[in-house]
Subunit: 283 residues, 4 copies
């Protein structure tokens, strides 16, 4: 797979959207050299947004996590998560209700911010299922899989209600070779058992790009057209497909899910064609 | 199911997005009384866009079809089809290639407008599969199902390429009781046989709403916020889900796919909640 | 739903195959009155086999469990489990290998009886994945769902090997209203993640009926034809479909999965038609 | 892939079950040399049955087809088709009803032999859907795909009834490179549209092996044990899986669906392990 250096491409754009996992960091921490790229972005005055399907942590926590890893120069409000889109949906469509969830207490902050009350699936009393107004799949951690997935199935058998999947990713890498099941897999198991389709948030749906685009243009510092924006990600069927459908130029980086070895095959097999391919966002 | 009259709701908005089938027309022709609603829209100066997942006919043909049915007051460029989104994708990502398709010759105009060359699946020479650059599912008519679906399967087995589904709807009504398989069903059969996922266009993806929203705001006649726009449709999981996710107020009408009898059950079962429910856009 | 008394039907047959859960017992214990029916079977000299998709416990343990519940008159070797079929497969096709599993230690007895060595998924060292020869889904209990399902996914990503699902049931009842995910659901989650189909055992596959039929005719006490045998179960798509396809007369009982309220609808919707319908095997 | 010569293996068995397509014949006609193997079978007095998932033609027609291709020495009643199993099911469970079907008139002979009346899907009057008692998917030919699949969907929406799939194969080869969609694909499309599971017949279900095994042992010429029988086929997940589960020794031949190039990979990936691998049944 022939790759191009990233910075000369980046230099042609007024704004850049970056995926987080596989682009800025991986299972070992920050990807080496990304600080220089962020510095370059700041020096050039290129607008930046980070678009992540991670709904397990709030904007603030993701911001703090970058800080802990040692990455400087990213502002909290430049981080856009699929959880924020789920929150917005809950806010507008469920309003002041009682929402049960699978995930950590941290992840549940999304629900509280939406003006609703949160209750972990493990604390739901099935005899009082009627008091629950909606359900959210937030994270693959923070609960007992056997007990709480069963409670979720029984809750949703007893009462029909809106069910939101705040992160549809199926797997995430935990080491060079291995993966872990993500929220999307847990949700899919329950969808299959109940023979239902839930409401999914996150890339590749254009909505997350729209959110970032609107946010960018609210700054007032001049208008950004779609032609001015480069989308960068490591996954064809979320980052690149979503960017392509939204009408942005797209760069696939080979520092995450997609390896140099199989990128060509995957591109031709899926028909999801990035405008550029780079080894990483470094250099 | 309690419903509200439509016009008083409509009167609160500066713009309205209407689905076509099940809202303006059905299998028998125009829905009685819709001309008055279109007239009301024009008198009040409410901006109008029609958002349809029908990719079988060009913008112009859909315009002409409304005329033939006797509907006045809709402009050609107010009609936005999922075929136009597919065209845009082909334009940006395939460019000047040779694109095979399933559908009518009319539907193929989307491909020609994208700057690519079109060839019906039935005319593809499998020995020269390498000359085809992409494939598009456009319509359920205009080809021999047995022969041409088989050709499609064999073409896509011989060469990996981008495959676009310009209309993901599975069924459409042909009479009060009966349905016909739509393009989305044919595409799904081929996806299942090949164990692949194609690139799908149309509602509920936010992209079609984005396209309409951008188009609206290019007119210059003042800016429209999302709060100013009402989305109206007859199908929960395309029109209403898409509108809700994009951040519009939504109205479900009971003049098409969703009947008064099952609307309440479907809403609670799917968790897709319209802001308003009306019998139709009339009155 | 019109039902018939069971004993007059039973009296017409020389042998009877009974499902266990929903026929002899339920989540509360023995179904009231089944002892009399077992006594009747013994007095009449009707041959009996119990056919269960439960692979979580050995033949001996299932026998002991009936004893603990107070049921008399069932012999250990009259119990036929889907685990025994899985064992047979491992015996003939894997032979003396090392087999990893999800389930309790008890369930693993099936593997040991097959002449293979068993290792719980939780004890698998992924760096030595090459030493594992096959994988078996045995039970939904006896492991940490989050940790061990992830280990299973990673093991099967690292090495392709035969994967056996010893019980394909998706759910089992745990109370009058509620269910728990069974082994089949866990296996399906992993199949979906890996995009693979595993090798499934149990009803409705004819193989379990064949096993019981062969076993019956090995007794020497005269030959049994298929016409001589009645299959009795509470689930249409396992017990009744399997019995029908194997060529037995079938009785649906309404003491388990299928209720009097929905039996008629389910029968016409599935086209799985029992020869008789009884409230239970009692009376 | 190392292969063994076939005849020395065959010589160790008292009976052989052969798949038809990919073993005796392919898209070009008889596989060269199979006459000698059939002659060898006859000389040695090895019992023979042919097990085919082809439900498009009756036993007699399949017999006649072998004759036309020039193959001698196969008796009509040695041919066992999945259509015969479907017929048996219809006979026992639908009895004297009116059965609609997709397939050729020839294929419909199975229905007539079952004592039921047959009506092509294309001739069904949807207004009289109530008069239809069951539906059978028989063949991928003999009907207008677009019109008659739509009629099938509407018939099954209007009335719930037993639906039988007499051949679950998804594809069949029509040339060295190309395939055609088989009955199983058409049935799967309709299952997916209606969100239902139909009743499927054919390998790998043990029932077809059982039928052949019973038939063999009805001849009276001595008893055959499972150990005495060799199953031979070209497809892992039908012929070999079914034979393995039934408890027969199995031989995979590389003259059909499974090529020498990918056999090893497929065996390890599926865990379906034949006892022997041969290039073909010749030599």
């Amino acid at each position: 797979m022939d790759t191009q250096p990233f910075l000369p491409i980046l230099g042609q754009f007024k704004a850049v959207f970056l995926d987080s996992y596989g682009v800025l960091k991986n299972h070992r921490g920050l990807i080496e050299g990304v600080q220089q790229t962020v510095d370059y972005i700041r020096e050039r005055g290129i607008a930046l947004r980070i678009l992540t399907n991670d709904a397990s942590r709030s904007q603030h926590e993701q911001f703090a996590a970058f800080r802990r890893l040692g990455l400087q120069g990213i502002e909290e409000d430049e981080i856009i998560t699929s959880g924020m889109l789920a929150k917005q949906y809950l806010q507008h469509k469920v309003k002041s209700g009682r929402i049960a969830y699978l995930g950590t207490e941290n992840a549940a902050s999304y629900i509280l911010e939406s003006g609703n009350t949160s209750i972990p699936a493990g604390d739901v009393d099935l005899e009082r299922a009627d008091e629950i107004d909606a359900f959210v799949f937030l994270d693959d951690e923070g609960f007992d899989w056997n007990r709480d997935i069963n409670t979720t199935v029984n809750l949703l058998r007893r009462k029909t209600m809106p069910v939101i999947v705040a992160n549809s990713d199926k797997l995430y890498p935990v080491s060079r070779n291995d993966v872990a099941l993500a929220t999307g897999s847990v949700a899919q198991l329950v969808e299959s058992i109940l023979n239902r389709s839930f409401i999914h948030f996150g890339k590749p749906d254009s909505q997350m790009f729209m959110y970032a685009f609107d946010h960018l243009n609210k700054e007032g510092s001049g208008q950004y057209d779609k032609d001015d924006i480069l989308m960068v990600g490591d996954t064809l069927h979320t980052d690149i497909l979503g960017g392509n459908k939204f009408g942005l130029k797209t760069t696939l980086v080979l520092s995450g899910n997609t390896s140099a070895r199989n990128a060509g095959l995957l591109i031709s097999a899926t028909g999801i064609i990035p405008d550029y391919i780079c080894a990483s966002i470094v250099g």
